[in-house]
């Protein structure tokens, strides 16, 4: 099992007294895209937020179990969540570029504000990140414009570029296309497939077609439990669990 | 176990600085309590209930000034609140857009005018309007009623109350305006839907729905009126001694703040300075009482509302 990048082990999570995740065991493989699907409220967003310790920022959030990143438990007391988040980047549901910063500064923000830029050429990093996010050609003449001045789809790719600039090992995406139109979504989907060459990707989506198009592995969650996990092809073509089958055939959702 | 990270240090520093609010409150209370210990030790409860303020015989009683404070603030509310509500209702419910914006700016600008300027205007302008158009006619025809008796001068409790009324209008009006605009349109539509007239909608639904907020606005205005110093000092006539006991609206009076502003530096004895600081303490207590009451009421109302929504 050498190629497992991240792994949840008996993961439980709560908001106050409400249990959001029940005994989740999922492994996320290196240089692959793992999709997490399920109806709203199934805990898929909570799960992905436990992977970079964003979950614990909610006031009443609690959790138990382990998340392993390269076989080290990220909830170990010696792990600094801030440092962890530099290794495990995240892209959110709604594009959220920093409103007061230019496109250039948005991409550079991670490096500038974390103080790790010293030996790096910022211009070079910004250019490379925007290229990887397939945004460079569209904005290369407007780098000084505010990050919020471009379209929603472009903003989302800007946020991806911002995450890439820190050269994380894993990129988490929490329904990255749900606020976008179909054309902009298609671009993001292509990008996700591209990204797995260099990164490990976990993507939450409520769009089953999207999951089947972009992912190598799929986890289906329902009411906080993991119902089925396996290769995307297997989940969509021959689901073992009846609930999974009903969900992917659109019987409920 | 708290680790010494940059984040924890930063949080600790600003948490300590945030204590400035508590420190300000404690410092003020401390100074007033220790500063007035002398007068309370000497006069005891007489200081609150006494009617005579005569440094010559070392007799200090602040009752007339407490009454003066309450009376002027009462006039301010009586006159100012209806006007403020009228303005707020006008701005939100009636005024066309072209009038609404400049009009609400105007009200906010009134809030920005320093109180000493209200005082100056009161002293040289409002005083004569009050004297000629309100006090003289009332005195002539209704002078047999005690509160309208005496010789009107224009520098008296009524003028002080009226200038306070003007000064609380921006506060009360702008907070009420926010409250009224926050009333959801569905409330209005529902009321119109059962055939209510515009006036009925405003009176029974809009005001009713926003009553706790409007109440809060009124209390804020009261707080401002009670603590106001300069404008009152300049127009109230500044009576001292037994004469300061208010009997008529047309008589010079004194409030707690104006007493302090007028006499603080004329103290000849430690006891007298202590008495002024004691007056400050009484003022602080009244003001705290009002502010705390307003605060508790408003937060409780908000909490209940929040619970109902969930």
């Amino acid at each position: 099992m050498d190629n497992i990048k991240m792994q949840s082990v008996n993961l439980n999570a709560w908001f106050g007294t409400k249990q959001a995740l029940k005994d989740i065991n999922i492994s996320i493989k290196t240089n692959a895209v793992t999709a997490i699907i399920g109806p709203s409220g199934c805990g898929k967003s909570t799960f992905i937020r436990t992977l970079n310790r964003m979950h614990e920022l909610a006031p009443t959030a609690k959790m138990s179990g382990q998340i392993l990143l390269d076989d080290q438990n990220i909830y170990d007391s010696t792990v600094d969540p801030v440092m962890l988040r530099r290794r495990v980047g995240m892209v959110f549901q709604k594009p959220n570029p920093f409103p007061t910063m230019s496109i250039y500064d948005n991409v550079a923000a991670g490096l500038k504000l974390t103080g790790v830029r010293k030996d790096k050429n910022l211009d070079e990093v910004v250019k490379r990140s925007l290229q990887q996010a397939t945004l460079w050609d569209e904005v290369k003449d407007d780098l000084k414009k505010p990050g919020t001045s471009i379209s929603g789809g472009q903003q989302q790719r800007l946020c991806i570029a911002r995450a890439i600039a820190l050269e994380p090992e894993v990129i988490l995406m929490d329904e990255p296309t749900s606020a976008l139109d179909p054309i902009a979504s298609a671009k993001i989907e292509q990008l996700v497939v591209e990204l797995k060459k260099n990164y490990t990707v976990a993507i939450v989506t409520h769009n089953m077609q999207q999951a089947s198009r972009v992912s190598d592995y799929t986890a289906f969650m329902y009411l906080g439990s993991l119902i089925e996990f396996g290769a995307t092809k297997d989940i969509f073509e021959s689901p073992k669990n009846q609930l999974t089958e009903r969900y992917i055939t659109g019987e409920f959702g | 176990m708290i680790k010494l990270t940059g984040d924890n240090i930063f949080k600790a520093i600003i948490a300590i600085i945030a204590a400035s609010a508590a420190i300000i409150l404690l410092l003020n209370t401390y100074v007033l309590v220790t500063g007035s210990a002398n007068i309370f030790a000497t006069s005891g409860f007489e200081f609150i209930s006494g009617k005579n303020w005569d440094p010559g015989i070392s007799s200090f009683g602040v009752l007339p000034y407490i009454l003066g404070t309450l009376l002027t603030s009462g006039i301010a509310l009586l006159v100012g609140v209806p006007l403020s509500l009228g303005i707020a209702i006008f701005i939100v419910e009636m005024a066309p857009k072209t009038v609404r914006v400049p009009f609400s700016y105007l009200v906010e600008m009134l809030a920005a005018v320093p109180s000493v300027i209200y005082g100056l205007w009161g002293l040289f302008v409002l005083r004569f309007w009050v004297l000629n158009y309100i006090e003289k006619p009332l005195n002539t025809y209704l002078g047999w009623i005690p509160i309208f008796s005496g010789t009107p001068t224009g520098l008296d409790i009524l003028t002080a109350g009226l200038i306070l009324a003007i000064m609380i209008i921006p506060t009360v009006a702008s907070v009420s305006r926010e409250v009224i605009s926050a009333v959801p349109n569905s409330i209005r539509e529902g009321a119109y839907g059962i055939g209510a007239t515009k006036w009925e909608v405003i009176r029974h639904w809009v005001i009713n729905y926003g009553r706790s907020g409007i109440f809060g606005a009124i209390i804020l205005g009261l707080g401002r009126a009670i603590g106001e110093t300069m404008a009152v000092t300049m127009v109230i006539g500044n009576a001292t001694g037994p004469k300061a006991m208010p009997t008529s609206l047309f008589q010079p009076g004194q409030t707690l703040p104006s007493l302090i502003a007028n006499g603080f530096f004329d103290s000849d004895t430690p006891l007298q300075s202590s008495a002024y600081i004691g007056a400050g303490l009484v003022l602080l207590l009244i003001s705290l009482l009002i502010n705390v009451a307003a605060h508790v009421m408003v937060t409780r109302v908000l909490k209940v509302k929040g619970g109902a929504v969930e």
Partner: protein, 238 residues
């Protein structure tokens, strides 16, 4: 306005002997500067704490006390600064004592407007920054405060306008006189004090001086207010 005839160059720059208000204008500007130096940093940091870490019991206490302080009678902070600094520490009336009294008024106002402006910054901005592995303190200073810039500036300027016209607290702390600035440890004049003192005079020339000073003060205060409104309106349009 009755102040207009009073205004001329000599009036604006002349000292008290010539019934000018030069010392008063100078004093008001000095007070604004000193008070801002104390009040703005403390007020903003308090507001930052309340907005960013304000979910605990301590913070809700501080918030309540702040609310109460904004309705505080201003003459009381005058008594406090007088007793603590004029009598207790330095033994003289001074701009420092005045600035401390005014800062007591300014801090709660700025703390509240800062908290409100920071709460308008969407949470998604905070999340974005945290997810990049940016430290929280860095997030606040470099991402959140700049995002709330216009609100912070507005709140600060309105607080400055408010303290510029305060009279009662400085009456007890800087005393007022008719001379230009004599040093940080000496009594000083200010516009509101000049208005108050001159208005009590029976001399026509001093009453005129009061009106002139009032006109200057109100122009300063209204200019700050109107400036802020125009600036913030321009920003919202963009």
């Amino acid at each position: 306005m009755r102040g207009i005839p009073a205004i001329n160059l000599q009036f604006l720059t002349g000292d008290g002997l010539r019934y000018g208000i030069g010392p008063a204008i100078q004093g008001t500007l000095i007070l604004i500067g000193l008070t801002s130096a104390i009040g703005i940093p403390i007020g903003i940091m308090t507001g930052v704490y309340l907005a960013e870490y304000g979910t605990n019991k301590y913070a809700s206490w501080i918030r309540s006390i702040n609310d109460i302080l904004t309705g505080f009678p201003s003459i009381i902070v005058g008594i406090t600064a007088y007793s603590l600094i004029v009598v207790g520490l330095t033994g003289t009336f001074s701009p420092i004592a005045g600035a401390v009294a005014l800062a007591f008024i300014m801090i709660p106002i700025i703390a509240r407007t800062t908290e409100e402006s920071l709460k308008l910054v969407p949470n998604s901005v905070r999340e974005a920054s945290m997810a990049l592995g940016i430290h929280r303190w860095r997030t606040i200073i470099s991402v959140i405060l700049p995002s709330a810039k216009s609100g912070l500036i507005t709140g600060t300027i309105l607080a400055v306008a408010r303290i510029a016209g305060e009279t009662a607290p400085i009456m007890l702390t800087i005393l007022g006189n008719t001379y230009f600035f004599q040093g940080l440890g000496k009594a000083m004049d200010a516009l509101p004090l000049r208005i108050f003192a001159s208005s009590r005079s029976h001399l026509q020339v001093e009453q005129t001086q009061a009106w002139g000073a009032a006109l200057v003060l109100i122009l300063i205060v209204l200019a700050l207010n109107i400036g802020v409104r125009l600036a913030s309106r321009g920003r919202y349009k963009r």
